[in-house]
Amino acid sequence: MTDSATREGPAGATYRGEALAIEFRHVTKRYPGQDAPAIDDLSLTVPPGETCCLVGPSGGGKTTAMKLVNRLIEPTSGDILIGGHSVLTYDVTTLRRDIGYVIQQVGLFPHMTIGANIGTIPRLLGWDKERIAERTGRLLDLVRLDRSYAKRYPAQLSGGQQQRIGLARALAADPPVMLMDEPFGALDPITRAEIQDEFLSLENEIRKTVIFVTHDIDEAIKMGDKIAVLRPGGKLAQYGSADELLGDPVDDFVADFVGADRGLKRLSLRSVGELADPGREAPPGAPSVVAGTSLRVGLSVLLAQGAEVLGVTKEGRPAGAVTLAEIREAAGS
């Protein structure tokens, strides 16, 4: 297995396009001349097709952990496996071409057109021109930019458009794995929310295993199927779903990091429809919201109206009710 893997990347010829699991196995990174390791015995597995957000304060080693995957940084000990194969057995260039890479500063090539930027890796992989052009067009559709953008230069695009192209370029060769280093960190809040939403819906279509580095816990909650909290010194503090982290932080560090408002954040993860008892009827005059509303908004409505029970409607018809006590319970651990 490993013999052929040294020549072929993790995607290989047959795997390309399929999501593969990423597994960190007791990975430690120690820089010469530094006492404390940057990454300390990190073990975690990102299941195929899931997004894992690496969060933590500066110095937590989240970017280092990410760069270990495409070997921009080599581990001191331990191993990282993509689809069950150690990244250390691959030729480094081949490995990187099979991993989509998106960085905060985008780093589009200013002297190449958008089309040429997106087609960079397919060109190096020896695709023919027609296939590259067809792929570029499809990717522009995917990131919701007009196909005419292919002929423009990066300097002619806004920041948000540039990062969309950065995303398209990373997806060009249909890699099974994506690494994203604070990809939306430089965008204004409105553009960021927009592109986050687009990436979420795009992820449903493309199903990639994604490692997403961010310092923003709210972004991690929004984007991640799983969240890994790293503490200074590169130790994994907690790894789990957003709900687990918010509902059951393992220690004060994680509790502090996810924020004192973690109860409220947890409420934004679930809708009133999930919690509503369909058999219960809201008393007359009780406020009501549609089932898709988050518990957080539901709570806000209850508080604003001084009510104890919130009616829930689905497609215009009553669909049960939620009590303030139930919401309080959902917020707690």
Binding site: T94, R96, I103, Q105, G107, I121, L124, R152, A155, G166
Partner: protein, 238 residues
């Protein structure tokens, strides 16, 4: 013989002519002597072009080396600055004992003047490549060689071309002094006619040298636009 009333006829160094000594520019004389000027012009182009090409052939690899090994930069700058600072005529005279009287001496001197600008501009251009562009290229899986050829060097081109532009004009102008050493280029006519009261010869050679510099400059500007179409692309523009 019919002498014009305005002044003596220019003997034209053996040939008769209709031009007058105090005439500013005599087109007939210029037309008669076009062959000589054309030959010198062609020579001038060659003398300059050889120097520029050799200058590029030395400065570009040296700049790449300095970009990779910063240790190398200071000695290279000192060396090329010294070459650049020596007065050109002094340079010619210094070189004669070593390389003799001829084209070799001329080219060595001219190349010496191209190095500093070409080297420094190229290094500056290579360094001006945004770090995130190289980081993205590396992370995507381009090899260091591919990054240099496909990313770094193309992005350094505007700076290289800006240096080339100045160097070309400078070399064409310095090449007029080459005739002090050996009979090459428009400098021959300039030297030959400079003491003469009939100034058409001096004007012809001088204006041709200036025109050559202007044309070369325009060509390089055009070439720059051709090889760096992206440099003018800005938001809103096309």
């Amino acid at each position: 013989m019919n002498l014009p009333a305005q002044g003596p006829v220019i003997p034209d160094f053996g040939n008769t002519s209709g031009c007058k000594a105090n005439e500013t520019f005599c087109w007939d004389w210029f037309a008669d002597h076009w062959d000589r000027f054309a030959a010198e012009l062609v020579q001038h182009v060659w003398v300059s072009a050889i120097a520029i090409v050799i200058g590029l052939a030395i400065a570009l690899p040296a700049a790449l080396l300095a970009y990779r090994l910063p240790r190398f930069e200071t000695p290279a700058v000192v060396f090329s600055t010294i070459l650049y600072t020596v007065p050109v005529l002094g340079f010619f005279l210094l070189m004669i004992p070593v390389t003799g009287i001829g084209l070799l001496t001329i080219e060595i001197a001219l190349v010496g003047y191209t190095l500093l600008l070409l080297f420094r501009n190229t290094v500056t251009g290579l360094r001006s490549v945004p770090p995130e562009v190289r980081a993205a290229a590396l992370g995507m899986g381009l090899t260091p060689g591919q990054i240099l050829v496909r990313i770094t060097f193309p992005l350094a081109l505007p700076a290289v071309m800006a240096g080339l532009r100045v160097v070309t004009v400078t070399t064409i102008s310095l090449a007029t002094l080459a005739a002090y050493i050996a009979p090459y280029g428009l400098g021959q006519s300039i030297l030959f006619y400079i003491g003469n009261t009939f100034i058409s010869g001096l004007i012809s050679a001088g204006v041709l040298a200036i025109l050559l510099a202007l044309v070369a400059d325009a060509l390089i500007v055009g070439l720059t636009k051709l090889v760096t179409p992206w440099a003018r692309a800005r938001r809103g523009g096309a």
